[in-house]
Amino acid sequence: MLHLALFLFFGAICVAGAVNLLVQRHPINSALSLVVVMASLAGEYLLLGAEFVAAIQVIVYAGAIMVLFIFTIMLLNAGEEERTKGSRVAILLGIPGVAIGAVLVAWTLLRHSQTASVPMFALPGVPRDIARLLFHDFLLPFEVTSILILIAIMGAVVLASRPDAVARPHHAEPAQQPREVPELVGPGKERG
């Protein structure tokens, strides 16, 4: 009974955050609702006994990735999204289609997994068991992910840098800013 109560508590917070992400118009509100969803999902992982997954959910997802999102929103000074013709069409077509898909998925899940049940703290999620798997059975995929992260870092640096900053060294100031590159920082900074 305690398991069900805690599951419903975290699940209600989770669903409320997900709905709030859809309802809010400003991206920073959506980002904060996503943080709420991720934190309550960490609670669900703890209920299942997956302590390591809960920890990296909070550290990597709610910490690192969401900081990246919020940093980008603040850097680009993103405002409220405007309602357009495309969004009305998307709402009219998207909501019924997604509702049909959701009912199908829920019906299938409820019909075929009626007997299976999960106890509280079912998994031995301590880092020792995870580490044995990660560094023994899954060693090659683990090393490949490190290469993937390295390539992603280099790609992010190349993509997000200014087009003239790649070719020129950093300290050599250009005589005038190129016309086609808009300033990101807004009116506070004077143009060169």
Binding site: E82, L93, L184
Partner: protein, 106 residues
Amino acid sequence: MIPLSCYLVLSGILFVSGVLGFLIKRNIITIFMSIELMLNGVNLSFVAFAAHWHMLGNVHALSGQIFVFFVMVVAAAEAAVGLAIIIAVYRTRETLNVDQVNLLKL
């Protein structure tokens, strides 16, 4: 003891919210966050199935948590590259609305 289907339905609700946000949102950053919501829903079903099979005595059931780890790594890489692309798009077009970003060329 609660049914496994409770976790699966919660995971399905999260995934469907992500799909809906992907469809109805016009801001490119919010669309990106909807993708993260979908990944979170899938992660929950991975961990729930891992718990279920571990309880039934499957020795490989802990691998579900490893897959969650890999999904998180891919999500982190995707967020870094995707947000860099969003910054590049904003530099050239000065908009975040996906209705106005419909050409590959400038």
